[in-house]
C-alpha cells in the first residue's frame, strides 16, 4: 500500500524525494537563484525518511540548519519548500526563513533552527504542552553531532527526562561539526550523553531507512506511553559540504578517498534494492516531474515586496517607527 509510510516503496520515495530536492537545490545555489547557500543533506536522507515514517501527521518535529530532509519527510510541499529557499513570497515562510528556518506548522514542523542544539528544549516544551493538552502526540528533535557539546542541549535532556516529556531525540552523527571530526569534539559517546540522564539510547545505522523507522517507532511508542524521551544516534556520512560555501572556499579536512568510502553506503540504493526495479523507475519518474515542477514554481514565484519586510515580526502587528529602515 503506497500510502503506508512503512511501506518499502514509500520509504524509498521519501529518500529519493529528498535526494532529488537536494541535488536541484545545490544547482540553484550555483546558478545564483538560491541566495545564501544551503547545508546539503545528501547522504543523510534515511534518517529523515525513516524517522518521519514512524510519526503521525499530528506529531511535531524541530529541525536543524541542515533541515530540508526533515521538513520534506514530515510532509511539506516540495514546491513551497523550494520557493522558500529561493526567497519567494510563495515559500513556506513567505521568504522570511529560507533554508535554515524552514517551518510548516500545518504538517507539524515547528521550524528548522540555525543554532545547533537550540531546538531541543523547544521540542521538549512542545511535547510537554501537547501531553498537558491531553493528547498522545510526540515531538521529535533532530540535531547533529556538533550539538551534543552545547550546554542547552544537555540541560534539555535533563528537563525532558525529569518531566518524562514525550520527546524523541534524534542525533544525526554525520561525522563532522563543520570541519571538525566527531572524535575531536565529543568526549565520551553520544548515547552516553543521554544515559547520564537516565534516557535510553541506542545507535542506529542512519543509512538504512527501515532501521531508522523501526528504532523511531519504538521510541515513539515509549513516548506515547508516558515513559519519556529516548535518544537515537543515527550514524551517517555527510556526502557534500557543510555548506555550499565550501564549493568555492574548498577547505581541506577530508580526502576524496574518504568521501568515496562514505558514499559507498547510499541510502537511496539501500532502500531502492528493496523494491522492484519497475516500481523504483516509476517513482523516480514521478519525482522527476514533481521536482521539476517545484523548481519551476520557485523560479516563477514573485519576490516578496520589500515594504513587507517586517510583516509578521510581532503577532500583535506592532510596526517599527517609520523612517527606520524598511524601504
Amino acid at each position: 500500500m503506497a500510502d503506508d509510510p512503512s511501506d518499502p516503496a514509500a520509504l524509498y520515495r521519501t529518500v529519493a524525494l529528498i535526494r532529488g530536492f537536494e541535488e536541484r537545490a545545490v544547482q540553484l545555489v550555483r546558478a545564483g537563484v538560491v541566495p545564501g547557500g544551503i547545508h546539503p543533506y545528501t547522504g543523510q536522507e534515511a534518517v529523515a525518511a525513516g524517522s518521519c515514517a514512524a510519526l503521525r501527521p499530528d506529531d511535531v518535529v524541530t529541525s536543524t540548519h541542515r533541515g530540508h530532509g526533515h521538513v520534506l519527510a514530515k510532509g511539506a510541499d516540495p514546491a513551497r519548500m523550494m520557493a522558500e529557499l529561493a526567497g519567494r513570497a510563495t515559500g513556506l515562510n513567505r521568504g522570511r526563513g529560507g533554508s535554515m528556518h524552514a517551518a510548516d506548522f500545518a504538517v507539524g514542523v515547528l521550524g528548522a533552527n540555525a543554532i545547533v542544539g537550540a531546538a531541543v528544549p523547544i521540542a521538549a516544551g512542545a511535547a510537554w504542552a501537547l501531553r498537558r493538552a491531553g493528547s498522545d502526540r510526540v515531538a521529535v528533535s533532530y540535531f547533529g553531532d556538533g550539538a551534543v557539546s552545547q550546554g542547552v542541549l544537555l540541560e534539555a535532556f535533563n528537563l525532558a527526562a525529569l518531566w518524562r516529556t514525550p520527546t524523541v531525540l534524534v542525533c544525526e552523527n554525520n561525522g563532522f561539526a563543520t570541519s571538525m571530526r566527531t572524535a575531536d569534539t565529543v568526549a565520551g559517546s553520544i548515547p552516553g550523553r543521554a544515559r547520564a540522564f537516565g534516557i535510553p539510547a541506542r545507535t542506529v545505522d542512519g543509512t538504512d531507512p527501515q532501521a531508522v523507522r523501526e528504532a523511531t517507532a519504538e521510541a515513539v511508542a515509549r513516548a506515547r506511553a508516558g515513559d519519556g524521551p529516548t535518544l537515537l544516534e543515527c550514524v551517517v556520512y555527510r556526502w557534500d559540504a557543510h555548506h555550499t560555501w565550501e564549493h568555492a572556499a574548498r577547505p581541506r579536512y577530508r580526502s576524496a578517498a574518504e568521501v568515496a568510502e562514505g558514499r559507498a553506503r547510499d541510502p537511496l540504493e539501500v532502500q531502492g534494492a528493496r523494491i522492484p526495479a519497475a516500481q523504483r523507475a516509476a517513482i523516480d519518474a514521478e519525482l522527476g516531474q514533481l521536482l521539476d515542477y517545484a523548481v519551476e514554481f520557485a523560479l516563477t514565484s514573485p519576490h516578496p515586496d520589500p515594504a513587507s519586510a517586517l510583516d509578521g515580526l510581532y503577532a500583535s502587528g506592532l510596526r517599527g517607527r517609520s523612517g527606520a529602515g524598511v524601504r
Partner: protein, 332 residues
C-alpha cells in the same frame, strides 16, 4: 481602598490571569515556595501542573517555555536575578523573539519573562545588580518597566495577554513602593502608553522604573522655581513617542534618568529621537550609570554608580539654564 504593595500587585496580576486563562503556567526556580513572593499562593490554588519548579537550568527552561508556547501554553517565566537574562539572551532574543517573523507569521510566542528585583539591590555586587532592559529594547523584544503597584499589575496583565514575548523588569527599587488603590479598579495597562505622573511646563524628565519616584522627589524640591513634568514611558519597547512629543511640546526641555549603562542605553535613544523629531529648546541631558559600569560590592561604591537624586536635580537645573538660540533662557 487597599494599600497595595508592588510585589502584591505582581502576585495578584499572575493569579488573576491564571484564574482567567487555564493556559497560563508559571516556570521558574523556587516558584512553588515563592522565594520572590511573586508566586505566593499559586501552587496551592492552581496546582503543580501549572506552577513548575525548574532545575537551575535557565537556558533549557526558557526555550522549554518557547516550545510550550508553540503548542498552546502561555508561560510566565520568573528569573530571580537580572543577570540570568545574559545567560538566556539567545533563547529570548534569537529564538522566541524571532520565530514569528522567521516562520512568515505561522506562529506566535506568548511568553512573559518576569524579573522581580532588577537593578541594584545594594551590595549584591557585580553579577546580581544589572538592569539590562536596554538590551531587549534594542533587539525589539517588548520591554516594560513598571514604576507603581497599579502599573505593575496592569502591565504584567497586559504582558501575559500579549501573543509576543515580553520582558517585565520589576526594579528592586520599586518592590517596596505602596499605593492606595481600589482593588476592583485595577485594570490592564496597554503596552506602549506612557504616563505623566506630574504635569509641568519647563522641563520633561523621562524617568524609567524606580527612578520615577526620584524624579517626583526632585520635581517637588525645585517646585516654585522650575516646573518639572515627570514622564514615565512604562514600556521601553514599544515606546510612547507620541506621549513624549506631546510632553516636549509643553516643556521643550528634556532630561532622561535611566538606571542602566550610558553608552547605547535607552537614555541615548530617547535623547536621539527627541533631537531628531521633537521640539527642544535646549540640549537634552542624560543621567545614567557610567559607561560600561559593573556595580561594585561596597555600598558606597554601588551607590556611586547609580543615578542619584542630586545628579538629576543638577541636570534639571542645567537644562533650563542652557543657551538657546541667541541667548540664555531661564525658567521663571
Amino acid at each position: 481602598m487597599a494599600n497595595l504593595s508592588y510585589l502584591k500587585a505582581l502576585n495578584r496580576a499572575v493569579a488573576d490571569e491564571m484564574a482567567r486563562d487555564a493556559d497560563v503556567c508559571v516556570f521558574g526556580e523556587d516558584v512553588r515556595v515563592a522565594v520572590s513572593n511573586v508566586t505566593a499562593g499559586l501552587l496551592k490554588r492552581f496546582g503543580p501542573e501549572r506552577v513548575l519548579d525548574t532545575p537551575i537550568s535557565e537556558q533549557a527552561f526558557t526555550s522549554f517555555a518557547t516550545g510550550a508556547a508553540l503548542a498552546g501554553v502561555r508561560p510566565l517565566v520568573e528569573f530571580q536575578i537580572p543577570a540570568l537574562l545574559f545567560l538566556v539572551f539567545e533563547q529570548i532574543a534569537n529564538q522566541a523573539h524571532k520565530l514569528a517573523l522567521m516562520t512568515g507569521g505561522q506562529t506566535r510566542v506568548p511568553v512573559t519573562y518576569l524579573l522581580p528585583g532588577s537593578g541594584s539591590r545594594e551590595s549584591w555586587a557585580g553579577q546580581h545588580s544589572d538592569h539590562p532592559y536596554s538590551l531587549f529594547a534594542h533587539v525589539g523584544v517588548k520591554t516594560v518597566v513598571p514604576a507603581t503597584p497599579s502599573d505593575a499589575y496592569g502591565l504584567l496583565v497586559s504582558a501575559l495577554r500579549e501573543d509576543d514575548p515580553v520582558v517585565v523588569f520589576a526594579p528592586a527599587g520599586s518592590l517596596g513602593v505602596r499605593e492606595d488603590v481600589d482593588l476592583a479598579a485595577l485594570a490592564p495597562v496597554p503596552l506602549g502608553v506612557g504616563r505623566v505622573h506630574r504635569a509641568g511646563t519647563d522641563v520633561t524628565v523621562v524617568a524609567v522604573g524606580h527612578l520615577v519616584q526620584e524624579a517626583l522627589a526632585v520635581a517637588e524640591e525645585v517646585a516654585g522655581r522650575i516646573s518639572v513634568e515627570v514622564f514615565d514611558p512604562r514600556s521601553l519597547f514599544p515606546f510612547d513617542w507620541d506621549g513624549l512629543a506631546a510632553s516636549l511640546e509643553r516643556t521643550g526641555r528634556l532630561v532622561v534618568v535611566d538606571d542602566s549603562n550610558r553608552s547605547c542605553g535607552i537614555g541615548a535613544e530617547v535623547v536621539a529621537t527627541a533631537a531628531e523629531e521633537m521640539r527642544l529648546l535646549a540640549p537634552p541631558r542624560r543621567v545614567t550609570r557610567p559607561d560600561g559600569a559593573v556595580l561594585p560590592f561596597a555600598p558606597a561604591l554601588d551607590l556611586a554608580c547609580q543615578p542619584s537624586r542630586a545628579q538629576l536635580r543638577a541636570a534639571v537645573e542645567q537644562v533650563v539654564r542652557r543657551p538657546v538660540g541667541d541667548g540664555w533662557r531661564r525658567a521663571e
